[in-house]
Amino acid sequence: MRVIINQVVHEIPSSSKLADALAAIDAKPPYAVAINLQFIPKAQYAARELQENDQIEVIAPVTGG
């Protein structure tokens, strides 16, 4: 299954959950996640199923003005 994580294409098993995708990129907390512009609470990472071409954003704290 093809998914896009932070604008980078990844091939992951078709039955993958969001937690699997996060493990694939070695995501390290703190971070938050959105799929197709929808926020996904962390309590749902393990159960959330992924679809072909899902656009996943994994974002972390940085400085800001």
């Binding site: 995501a27 938050a32 996640v33 512009l37 704290p61 003005g65």
Partner: protein, 272 residues
């Protein structure tokens, strides 16, 4: 149900936003500093009421460069105000705000909805609907907006308990480009007003506080100063000075001179 909007300017010096008190009326951004240590020192030198932060893609060069920022935030222990910088649509704002709420564990959000990448001007046509959606989702929204009276009034109408009009485009350091409009906002709106963006000098911040604004948010003016730590302190002093001046009731400006020294008894004076 939204909390009641303050109808009078508080005489006490604490800044009150959404029912919470802040000892400082200076809000400070955390970007563009020469180093994390200088940022930390600037925050210590100015004691801001809040510091602004943001979120970017993990694994990007930005987050790689900010790898120690999370620990620095915890060490500084200043309330954080996440922003939605870089968002160009209401949905981007809402999703970013929800992600920020989870990461930073706060309901505060500085709403930025950008309409133009050159001026970073807010998208005023969609700002109000976006603010309303965030308010309904339980956020304490501080909207970055223009000095447009109608937009600011509509933000208040949908539940914003403060608004943050720009002085000038972000990062330009020009100071207030439209004092008339900012003063009009102060005259017409009773909610807390904080100038956000475009300040360059402590005198700029002092001026808006003298007009009756409740606070100032700035970043570049401190971060790009030759001595950011000293400049941060100067801005803190300027915000306090302006606030004190406002509360002190300044004399009205006059067009004709009035001597300060008594005229009676002037030596060498004679009737002509």
């Amino acid at each position: 149900m939204t909390a009641p909007i303050p109808t009078t300017l508080p005489r006490a010096d604490d800044l009150i936003l959404y029912g919470e008190r802040f000892a400082s009326r200076l809000l400070l951004g955390t970007s563009r500093y020469p180093s994390p240590q200088i940022l930390e020192n600037a925050v210590a030198a100015s004691n801001p009421g809040m510091i602004t932060v943001s979120l970017r893609r993990q694994g990007s060069s930005t987050t790689e460069a900010h790898s120690g920022f999370w620990e620095l935030l915890k060490r500084m222990a200043v309330p954080v105000l996440p922003n939605t910088a870089g968002c160009h649509s209401p949905q981007e704002v809402i999703t970013t705000a929800q992600m920020a709420r989870e990461v930073f564990e706060t309901d505060w959000i500085k709403l930025e909805l950008i309409g133009d990448d050159y001026t970073l001007q807010p998208d005023t046509l969609r700002l109000v609907q976006t603010a309303e959606a965030l308010i309904q989702d339980g956020f304490k929204v501080l909207p970055y907006c223009t000095e447009d009276l109608i937009v600011c009034q509509r933000l208040v109408d949908v539940g914003c308990q403060a608004v943050m009009p720009w002085a000038a485009p972000i990062g330009t350091g020009q100071g207030a480009l439209n004092p008339y409009a900012l003063k009009l906002l102060r005259e017409r709106l009773s909610v807390p007003l904080l100038v956000d963006a475009g300040l360059g000098l402590p005198s700029h911040a002092c001026a808006v506080m003298e007009w009756g604004f409740d606070g100032a948010l700035l970043n570049t003016a401190v971060a790009l100063a030759e001595d950011p730590v000293a400049m941060a302190n100067a801005f803190a002093l300027a915000v306090n000075a302006g606030r004190t001046a406002f509360l002190s009731g300044a004399m009205p400006a006059q067009t004709s001179a009035q001597a300060s020294t008594p005229l009676v008894g002037t030596p060498f004076w004679h009737q002509t």
